[in-house]
Symmetry: C2
Subunit: 689 residues, 2 copies
């Protein structure tokens, strides 16, 4: 290694032994200045938080955190989340120093193109990192999901004397995290669920970007968290190693409540001219101020990115410690496997994220005989309940709308502090944290989480959906009541732009099935899509179960879009639709046929899946030579031009909805077969759009 | 009037006089059953909340609320918000009974197409209604904005002995409101701001849709609100008129803190088979249960929508009372006008929402001499500070990002409990409530509010933006850091789909100006657009100030899109862009010109404004015969097909961003003039897309 682990004041390797106190201080300063140097070199980033946070982070990582730098996927590791993701450089320093696959050179590439050390911590990019953070409050909430997952797996799989799932979830959280509403939702739930193995260190530095937090944040944080049912340890001196150690021990001792340790710190600690001010937050200190800070903190090394060898030796003990801890766990697993071979096999299958053999058997016949109309939300509920007994890891819940979203697993039991085995989560009217908890559970592993709410309330949970897509997590979002078709609740509850919103999120797959049979296919996609989230967009209103004897099979959904029906091999007009408008399109096809006009009906439930098909397939479904095209969808028309083309017609909604029975709204807004047929005729007559 | 104000048990008009107690009870039951009958007739809606809420709502409206049913725009009326909007039928009953322009026939049209009584309360549709509610937590937060506006106007305009602005803001809030994170943000701010004239009645009925609230909501609500700095009066019997009256009086007496009155109630009160259960919440009771409920509550009238005449007589006293109150206020205003003619003129101007004469003078010259590149966020800050001294009513703030969003009004002062005159709001890291507070301020009147955050954090505040668009409120949203161009902060902070998201909201105008001069024009639009919100999408990075001597004037922005430059009168290719990509498009035009290719450069900063132009204008900017078209925008390509057409090319981003310097990202992702020029050449050669 070409890394400069020399004492630069002597030019020789450091040899003298240090007192414990001194080594602690030295480690802390090393963490601080790796972060500060990384920010300074990038000329971009946040030096203030690392300077203030380093002691508490060090104590946690050095004295408590159970982890193995050689295997960041070890299932029973403690989870650590840096919810204030802007302090990323601190985390990268810790990962490097404790021996993860992150070199000093990586640190030197902080915030550069293609580096393993991006501006905010990104899961999948930075080795050893649990979740992507940065947007405040998200990490706080993810941790609650992880702690919930741990309790669930422990309840399901641990046996007396066999605690194979037994770890803590830690986070460092900031003022900003606590100001965001999502953390209130998360804290309220965590308190209710008595998540005793959740321990958060709050970096109470009194400074945010606009100045002192006192300009807007004067609430009694301790009182607030006590009201949620948390143990609050406060206030401690966040720079005093003994205090931090004592507080974490106290938190560990309280098994019945989540813990918040309020650590008083100073942002930009050590910087003579910027400490304790907003100036330390979001920009490099400047070379001169870096020197002054190093001097003030007694850092005797010249040059940048210096790691004293004794620091490395001390912190890299994490490798040996971690190996031992994981070995012990492996032995525990061995014993467990012998005693409970079936449980062990299932646990390991779940942790790998594999679906059990035969998970999809019989699914295709679920609605084979169904002739009554059925809402796709109800069909989804039936599918879920068929899957639930086979797929143990499927669990989730709704933001107080389960009877409407049909997301209850009938025999799943309710998840609560008295029953962590329960598979039905009651999130309350808290959509935002619901999304983030699902991400935390997915990242924990062992669980395939789903959420449920009305599509309109996707607006309350956009940030976690985006982050799940960025992280590539298998989360299944069930959004029912997907259009004006929901009726009387009116425009406040009727989505218009939300479906487009889902489609616009990179790496998210959105599926709006046309009927019960497509709903089955949509669930198959969602479960098998290990590398990213899937949104299922479902109707409130009943929809006919399409009679497949005259139509293409529902399995066409697997390709995103498919020819559902056509009057003849050489159609004149293409009518495409999704979800609840597909049967209207089909009806229009019939009307046109009566007039001798040959239509092709395309069901296009998932744009993302369709776009992923080879060009030949797409051209086959939507042949270039057929310019007469109509799209019908009870939502924003934006984006449909991609499929209808210059000559096409889009029947959608570019305004808010109305309060009235759903059928009346469809009539009034022209979401009808007759309108489609009329537009088709008009197009073929060469009429004006 | 054909309305049935007869005692139906006797068939005669009711004449006997009632004791106070009896009339109270009768009024309450009338409210209850008007609501229940409306729900039953619509066969859709929420009967449970009205049955439980009616007493507290009645006491508030009958004993305290200062309002004039004849003039729902009276500026100094008390504001009343039904945050649990699903109890809409109760509010409609109150509005009818107290004499607003809402008839019994309107109530009978509950939840029907075109009626004045939609499923959830809609501002602009229902006479006398303050804000649209339904999505939980929003009304709670709107009220904070109203109370803030009241204090601000009072501080600015009241003079000793002349309290011309002096009213309360009341709301009824539910469990669901308190579970939503936004209410935590709102409550924390309201406590900090010591909004003593904010009084909320909490309908603590212990039931939500999935069952008892205890399945997920066990926090100590009183303790939590005390931690925020609220006066909490709890628990009182929400059915006991005297208790409710006493509690409101107590709340009025505490001038220094917002108040939460915890009213224990029973959902579906009186319904023998559904009271106290989730079954009472979201569907009609059923005709039989309605009868049983009426019987149980001693309602002796047959038939539906019955209003006993003594009830009407009692509640319509609100008309006389309101007229008197408003008369007194008018007299106060007269005296004030004589003593402070200038202040009175300004106050009335602000309340009308008019911009002061000369508000825009000199704006066009702000950047006339500017030759250095300047970020549009900075340009916006300069514009705002030029406007601020002239437009008194302009006030707002940022979610802890003011130094970055450049939204501080330099001489505005900070709004706080000690300085309600301050025009700079410090929202803290609370984007969601920021949006809802702005709506509350706009609805209050007298203020043109703006908000500020990074575009990525629009995701945290989607619900209030949508509702502001639905309500048609003049709110100005400033979103800076509008693309991957922000650089090192990386994908968690880089918007991709957010710009499209804004464009997809009906009735919202989104503007992404290309430079400082277009930023001036964008501000003009935003301020003059009285009937709806405007989003300004601004760059973090510096952008050249376009030299208009060779280009079309920036006033072209007023039409949404305009020809900025072209090489010749008959261009071969159209290159369009918005914001920070316009100068790249221009540069590409130059590159093409060097090759003898004639390009037209179109700046298209606002799709909504462009779509609102006559077809001839749009065709002139984007002539149908020019099929070679390129759009460049550092965001989701979705929707651009509308302008590029079947043969066009869209240079955008359909994936998440990267952490690196902004310029590097632009290079790596091909957001360059060279790429544009190459694509143009390729198109003209008839090459593959």
């Amino acid at each position: 290694m070409a890394e400069n682990y020399l004492r630069l004041d002597t030019g020789k390797p450091e040899e003298q032994s240090m007192s414990d106190f001194k080594i602690d201080e030295l480690c802390i300063n090393t963490i601080r200045f790796l972060a500060v140097d990384a920010v300074q070199k990038a000329n971009s980033g946040h030096p203030g938080a690392p300077l203030g946070l380093a002691p508490m982070a060090y104590v946690l990582w050095d004295r408590f955190l159970k982890h193995n730098p050689a295997d960041s996927n070890w299932p029973d590791r403690d989870r650590f989340i840096l919810s204030c993701g802007h302090a990323s450089a601190l985390l990268y320093a810790l990962l490097h120093l404790t021996g993860y696959d992150l070199s000093l050179d990586d640190l030197k590439q902080f915030r550069q193109w293609g580096s393993k050390t991006p501006g905010h911590p990104e899961y999948g990019v930075v080795p050893g990192l649990e979740v992507t953070t940065g947007p405040l409050g998200q990490g706080f909430a993810n941790g609650v999901g992880m702690a919930m997952a741990e309790r669930h797996l422990a309840a399901n799989y641990n046996r007396p004397g066999h605690e194979v799932i037994d770890h803590y979830t830690y986070a460092i959280v900031s003022d900003g995290d606590l100001e965001e509403g999502i953390s209130s939702e998360a804290a309220s739930l965590a308190g209710y669920l008595r998540l005793g193995k959740l321990i958060y260190l709050y970096d109470d530095n009194g400074i945010s970007i606009e100045g002192k937090t006192g300009i807007t944040f004067t609430e009694d944080v301790a009182g607030r968290f006590q009201s949620y049912g948390w143990q609050v340890i406060e206030p401690i001196n966040g720079f005093d190693i003994g205090s931090v150690e004592g507080a974490i021990s106290e938190a560990l001792a309280d098994k019945g409540r989540p813990s918040l340790i309020v650590c008083r710190t100073i942002i930009g600690y050590g910087s003579p001219n910027k400490a304790g001010t907003a100036a330390a937050h979001g920009e490099p200190l400047g070379e001169e101020e870096v020197s002054l800070t190093k001097k003030q903190l007694g850092w005797n090394y010249e040059g940048l990115f210096t790691v004293p060898p004794e620091v490395l030796a001390h912190l890299r003990k994490a490798q040996e410690r971690g190996r031992k801890q994981q070995d012990e766990w492996q032995q525990k697993m061995e014993t467990y496997r012998r005693a409970y071979p079936d449980e062990a096999r299932k646990l390991e299958e779940d942790l790998r994220g594999d679906l059990p053999a035969g998970w999809d058997s019989g699914l295709d016949d679920l609605f084979g005989e169904e002739t009554r109309p059925i809402a796709t939300r109800s069909a989804s509920g039936i599918v879920m309940n068929a899957l639930a007994p086979r797929i143990r890891s499927l669990m989730g819940g709704s933001a107080d709308l389960a009877p409407s979203t049909k997301t209850e697993l009938k025999d799943g039991g309710d998840y609560s502090a008295d029953n962590y085995r329960g598979r039905n989560l009651h999130f309350g009217v808290r959509e935002h944290v619901m999304g983030a908890i699902a991400s935390g559970m997915a990242r924990h592993g062992g669980i395939i989480p789903y959420t449920g709410t009305f599509l309109i309330f996707y607006d309350y949970m956009r940030p976690p959906v985006r982050l799940a897509a960025m992280m590539g997590l298998r989360v299944i979002y069930i959004f029912s009541h997907d259009s004006v078709g929901l009726g009387e609740d009116g425009p406040t509850h009727q989505p218009v732009e939300q479906l487009l919103g889902l489609r616009s999120v990179p790496h998210l797959v959105t599926i709006r099935p046309a009927d019960a049979t497509e709903t089955v296919e949509a669930w198959k996609i969602a479960l098998q899509r290990r590398g990213g989230p899937t949104a299922l967009v479902l109707s409130r209103q009943n929809l006919p179960v399409l009679d497949r004897s005259n139509l293409a099979p529902a399995s066409g959904l697997q390709r995103g879009g498919y020819v559902l029906w056509e009057a003849a091999a050489a159609p004149e007009v293409i009518i495409m639709g999704t979800g609840s408008e597909v049967h209207i399109a089909l009806e229009a096809g019939g009307l046109l046929q009566e007039k001798g006009i040959k239509a092709r009906i395309v069901s296009l439930p998932s744009w993302e899946l369709f776009e992923a098909q080879p060009a030949e397939y797409r051209d086959k479904v939507l042949p270039e030579n057929i310019k007469a095209r109509i799209a019908i969808e009870a939502g924003s028309p934006l984006g449909w031009e991609r499929y209808t083309g210059d000559s096409g017609v889009i029947i959608g909604l570019s305004h808010f909805g109305h309060s009235a029975p759903g059928k009346v709204i469809y009539e009034k807004l022209g979401l009808t077969a007759q309108r489609v047929a009329d537009e088709a005729e008009n197009l073929l007559r060469g009429g004006e759009k």
